[in-house]
């Protein structure tokens, strides 16, 4: 209404048959007849239509062949996670990009999105062909976008032979196969473990807790009770979606080990009693063990609070290897704490939850395919992977790359137990939430249970419904009913 009205009104007022124009230079006036006007307007409209048509044609062409033009600079998108966050030299300077250039001669641009903005950025760019050359992958972010990634098998076979994927750890390869069993869509970068709280060693000592003695969930509850008696907040948490869901995944390993896989294959349900129990445990942990007001607020990752305030004895969500980046933190308090004062243990009754933190993939249709492959190799299996593992002590999916020693208590307290767990033959496979719909449903409903807006049973039913929908979704090829 607001736009059309003035147009119609202008037309109505301009009904005079012919009109006068005045030459601004000479001041002479002349009459523009309707015929002259029609011809000129026709030409103008034709030109505009031609330009628009060319634009549409251009858009379709780009869609048919997504990717950037070869520009001499390789662009990689990700979120600030271990594999791209930083490799710092002795002066504290991040040398990841310049080392890649020195090794390969290729200019690299790493674009780090806030994690919550990453899936929308990919979804907007990849189908439109305006994305980068390579991307970091995560189950929570990809959904139907896996189809926009280039199959890597042929290049990997050429590089390492037919059995190339045996060079990666089993949790890593089993996840790769879930996306596309015939042809890898990414190579695993760094690996992570869930279900491993970090704790202040001195707090546990003060409360008289031996982490190694926590064998059952009752032991865990008793330990939390001791911490409270000692005047300590047991856990620091956050309402951020990924932390809420990571906690849930970890607690399923307590109440119904391995069942996330069964549920997502259709041989179990979120509404089964042992899965509902995980919703209840989740609410209990958040309401009774964490700081008040933890649900709902989009709070930041609590690492700063955990290290600086020392107000809470434990923190867990997505703890483990990705946090090893903090070994090189600018913040001396964090650096000192992670190197010397924190320990870790597996939640009692859980088998742990190993998974790829970030995969590295090439975007289909990129003009920089060779350079992108160089980056993928370099950062997952080559010199880049070595640097990342050495500098940040993170375990990589590529078996030959070993995390570096720090020469501090960190090696004994954090690195060794986590790395040993990662190598364990029974370490989990397929125990993560794979469909974005299910992930979002959990992120929505779990705070509802925490704040008593809905019951655990209602939340489980809602999540199950989201799972049923995702079974029918066009892009969810990896979810299969058994």
């Amino acid at each position: 209404v607001a736009v059309l009205s003035p147009i119609v009104e202008t037309t109505r007022r301009g009904l005079a048959a012919n009109f006068q124009v005045r030459d601004s230079a000479t001041g002479a006036g002349r009459t523009v007849t309707r015929r002259i006007f029609v011809r000129r307007a026709g030409l103008l409209i034709g030109a505009v239509a031609g330009l628009l048509g060319a634009g549409v044609a251009r858009t379709e062409r780009v869609q048919a062949a997504p990717g950037r033009l070869a520009s001499g600079r390789l662009t990689v998108w990700g979120w600030p996670t271990g594999i791209i966050l930083a490799v710092v030299d002795e002066s504290g300077k991040d040398v990841l990009v310049e080392t890649f250039k020195a090794d390969t001669g290729i200019e690299l641009e790493l674009v780090k999105y806030d994690y919550k903005d990453y899936p929308p950025a990919l979804k907007t760019a990849l189908p439109a062909g305006t994305g980068p050359d390579a991307v970091l992958t995560d189950w929570d972010a990809m959904g139907p976008l896996w189809d926009f990634l280039m199959p890597l098998d042929e290049m990997a076979v050429k590089e390492w032979g037919d059995n190339w994927n045996e060079q990666f750890t089993e949790p890593a390869t089993s996840e790769m196969a879930l996306v596309d069993a015939q042809n890898a869509r990414y190579l695993p970068g760094n690996m992570q473990l869930l279900g491993w709280p970090l704790y202040w060693i001195e707090d546990f000592q003060k409360a008289g807790i031996d982490a190694a003695s926590l064998k059952t969930w009752a032991d865990m509850e008793a330990a939390v009770g001791k911490l409270k008696l000692a005047g300590l907040q047991p856990f620091l948490g956050s309402g951020a979606n990924w932390q809420i869901v990571d906690w849930f995944q970890s607690l399923v390993e307590v109440s119904a080990p391995g069942k996330i896989e069964e549920v997502q294959r259709g041989s179990g349900k979120f509404t089964d009693p042992d899965m509902v129990e995980a919703f209840k445990l989740h609410a209990k942990v958040h309401n009774e063990w964490m700081q008040s007001g933890v649900a709902g607020a989009e709070a930041a990752v609590p690492i700063d609070g955990f290290s600086a305030q020392h107000a809470c004895a434990m923190v867990m969500a997505a703890a483990g290897t990705p946090w090893f980046n903090f070994l090189g933190s600018d913040n001396p308090t964090i650096r000192e704490a992670i190197n010397n004062r924190w320990g870790t243990f597996l939640l009692p009754q859980s088998k742990g939850l190993a998974a790829t933190d970030a995969g590295v993939a090439i975007v289909k249709g990129t003009k920089n395919q060779d350079a992108a492959w160089e980056y993928v190799k370099w950062t997952t299996t080559g010199h880049g992977a070595e640097l990342i593992a050495k500098n940040t002590a993170q375990p990589m999916g590529f078996k030959k790359i070993q995390p570096g020693k720090r020469g501090t208590p960190f090696d004994r307290n954090l690195a060794e137990p986590l790395f040993a767990a990662l190598q364990h033959p029974t370490a989990n496979k397929f125990r993560r939430i794979l469909a974005p719909e299910v992930y979002q449903a959990l992120a929505d409903t779990l705070p509802g249970v925490i704040t008593a807006q809905i019951t655990a049973e209602e939340a489980a039913a809602e999540v199950q419904e989201a799972l049923e929908k995702s079974f029918q979704g066009a892009g969810q090829k990896w979810l299969r009913r058994s």
Partner: protein, 306 residues
């Protein structure tokens, strides 16, 4: 002999009182149709499909998305409620306090410009900065609000400002009010300065005081401004997104969800583009209704102003 097409055009144009002026607007009209009208129509069309936003296949589902929206979607119902709450508070509170502050600042006060600047400052601050700042203020552990309450011995009043479903939406609305109040004050100030002093002087001679002059002179004479501010505020309430996204993401469990956020979540988080389109259509219809009210109020205000 005139060209037959030209003759036909002349006859057509004469009969329908058309002339070349129409053709002048055609380029703009073409651009409008291509970039505004066509996408709008496409949204209507897409709302009838089930589509993940990237796949080649789209399944026609008819009105199923709308049926689901109105019968099963708890988040949608809550978002309607929250948008209505937002509209009520975002118009009434600044209307009362904005006018009161503007009227006060229109008097001869010391440091008047300082007060005006301080009030207007939040308006020019980016919503992202405002969101992050208030997230810190509302932090239940170390936030300014909770620590201040504790320091004042009012710990009993402390809440999980963004995590309590009963107050989360109000906490976000407070931020929006804080951010927008300055704009209301400045616009009201401009309107008040156009009211002739003679009217106040006459009223003063008749014995009118501060409040009487404000209620019976200043407020009626700025009703056109009030109408405009209310309309703009209502439109803003319908499409509000940024502060909710920054502070609560609509949580906990949709307690602070608003419609525009729902569109974003459905389209970009859940890959439900058809459903998001249906939600957009509803949002568009509500926005259109508000716009029609806006146009009528404008017309009414203009008439009464003249």
């Amino acid at each position: 002999m005139p060209h037959p097409i030209s003759s036909t055009w002349r006859r057509f144009a004469r009969r329908h009182k058309l002339n070349s002026g129409l053709l002048f607007v055609l380029p703009a009209l073409a651009a409008y149709l291509l970039y505004v009208a066509w996408p709008t129509v496409s949204i209507f069309e897409m709302s009838l499909y089930d589509w993940d936003g990237v796949s080649a296949t789209q399944s026609f589902v008819g009105l199923q998305n709308y049926v689901e929206l109105f019968t099963q979607d708890r988040a949608f119902r809550l978002s309607i409620r929250n948008n209505v709450l937002w509209a009520i508070f975002a118009t009434t509170v600044p209307l009362v306090f904005g006018f009161l502050l503007a009227y006060t600042l229109n008097q001869r006060l010391r440091f008047r410009n300082l007060y005006r600047t301080a009030l207007f400052l939040p308006v020019v601050v980016s919503s992202v900065v405002v969101g992050f700042t208030w997230a810190f203020i509302y932090n239940p552990q170390a936030g300014l609000l909770s620590t201040t309450l504790a320091a004042l011995g009012l710990r009993a009043l402390d809440r999980a400002w963004l995590g309590d479903p009963g107050i989360a939406i109000y906490s976000v609305i407070v931020v929006a009010l804080w951010q927008s109040l300055g704009a209301w004050v400045v616009i009201y100030l401009a309107a008040l300065q156009s009211v002739p002093d003679e009217i106040y002087d006459s009223a003063a001679i008749d014995g009118a005081g501060f409040w009487q002059k404000m209620i019976f002179i200043a407020f009626p004479l700025t009703r056109f401004t009030t109408a405009v501010l209310i309309i703009l505020s209502l439109i803003s309430a319908v499409k509000t997104f940024d502060l909710v996204y920054l502070l609560t993401r609509g949580g906990p469990y949709h307690a602070s969800e608003v419609m525009a956020l729902g569109v974003y979540q459905q389209a970009f988080k859940l890959n439900h583009h058809g459903y998001a389109s249906a939600l957009s259509v509803v949002l568009l219809l509500i926005g259109t209704a508000v716009t029609i009210v806006q146009l009528r109020l404008y017309a009414h205000a203009e008439e009464s102003h003249e």
